[in-house]
Every structure is written in C-alpha cells, then in structure tokens.
C-alpha cells in the first residue's frame, strides 16, 4: 500500500477494534475498578465512539508516517513499531504525566490521575498494534 493515509485508515480500524475488545474485557474483569456492568447500548455507544476517534486519529498519523518515513529508524514492521512507540511517548506518556501531575499537584482530583494512567496503559498496546500494522501495510513509492 503506497498511501500513508489509506494504510493509517486500515491500521486504525484494526487498532480500534482490537483495543475496544481489550477495553471491554478489561472492564468486565474489573480492571478499571468496581463499576456497574454496562448496558448493551452503553457498550455499543462507547465502542463506536472509541473506534471512530481512533480511526480519525490514525489517518492523521498515517499521513505523518508517510511524510517522515525515511527518518524513522528500523525497517519494515520494526519501523512501524518504532513509530507507534514514538506516538505513545509523545501522546500518552507526556500527556498522561501532565494529567497525573495536575491531579496530584493542582486539582487534587483522583479522576485526573486515573485519566493520566489510563492514557499511558491503554496507549502502550494500542500504539504497538497500530505501529506494527502500519509498518506491515505501508510500502513507500520508490
């Protein structure tokens, strides 16, 4: 696939679907605390929202991947993996750390800390899957 946008779009669908499954399974396992079991409609709305945001985000990342392709270290799938981890570092680790900081130092709200931890933990498998899929799908023009 020679278009970063299309590769990003397909990788986004796969990432969105897989991460939704992980999130739903995690919720039923009680990974996010003791919550009321979600209703089916709630679950569908949540899953759909997650997948749509992921696809929009990953199309943009596909474009960035194509643009910066030559400067990303590694080859093939490994190049995609490094790119995925770079996104995780910028988007989730940095943003998550500021959320945790704000929760502890500024607002004193545990929800802020939870949001930061969520970003970092969910992000690691999400962007690893995305990077690997993108690295597999995207083949640059020669």
């Amino acid at each position: 696939m020679k278009s970063g946008l299309t590769a990003g779009f397909i990788a986004g669908i796969i990432t969105g679907l897989l991460s939704t499954i992980f999130l739903v399974v995690g919720r039923y396992m009680g990974l996010y605390g003791i919550l009321q079991p979600p209703k089916i409609t709630e679950l569908l709305i949540f899953s759909l929202g997650w997948i749509i945001i992921t696809i929009i985000t990953t199309i943009a990342f596909g474009f960035i991947y194509e643009k910066f392709y030559d400067s990303i270290p590694g080859k093939g799938i490994m190049r995609g993996l490094y790119f995925g981890l770079l996104i995780w570092c910028i988007k989730d680790v940095i943003a998550g750390t500021y959320c945790i900081y704000s929760g502890i130092m500024i607002s004193g709200l545990i929800e802020w800390v939870a949001a930061g931890i969520n970003l970092i933990v969910i992000g690691i498998y999400m962007w690893t899957i995305y990077g690997l899929t993108l690295g597999y799908l995207y083949k640059p023009k020669k």
């Binding site: 943009a60 989730d92 500021y98 500024i106 607002s107």
Partner: protein, 131 residues
Amino acid sequence: MKNPIIAGAIAGVISGIFGATMVAVGYSIGLYGIPLAPMTVAVPVFILLTIIFGTVLGLIYGRFHSLILGNGLKKGLYFGLMIWFIKDIMAASYVILIMEQIAVGINLIVVGLYLWILYGLVLEALYKPSK
C-alpha cells in the same frame, strides 16, 4: 547550538517557567479550585517535567528537522503546533469523549497551546543543525 538535546532542554526551561507562571496565575485567581500542593512544590515540578520532556522532544526535533515544513522560526512554530496536536488535541479527545473527564481535556488543550508554541519557537531559535 548544534546539539538538539541541549537546545530542547533550554527550550524546556523557558517554556516550563512560562507555563508554570501561567499555572500560578490560574491558581491565584481560583481557576483550579482549592490547590492541593503549595506553589513552592507545584511550580518547580512543572518546570522539571517540561525540561525532561523538552529534552526528549529536542532529540526528536533534531532527527526530523529537515522534514518539518517552513523556515526559521516558522519551522519551530509548526513543530510546536504538531506536538500540541498530537499530544494535547488527540489525548484530550480520548480523555473528554471516552473517559468523560472534560476539565482534564480542556486543561490539556489550553495549557498545551501556549506551552508548545513557545517551546517550538525557542527550540528553533537555539538549534542550528550541522550542515
């Protein structure tokens, strides 16, 4: 300055001080409600975090410098806006729409905008890649 890591760290110091000042102003006018930690702790930690992340982003900037759009300060501005877009807009969209933490998301977007624009501009002003 030919070392992007040092340039990133210095840009992190400057934007960190600016960002912490804005947080302190927000604090004093009650924007964040009742503060938990004293300002003497919250401000240095904010600056320290921005220096650490500024260093990491400086390394990334050095690697991708020639591929970033624009010339001169515009290049730094675009990089800062790109970081803001990836880090804050995208992270905030998840935080607001999925985790339903609207205040957290708005905080990321608003603080991030001036923090990373300033960071990008200072970084570009300092960093001169070797030819």
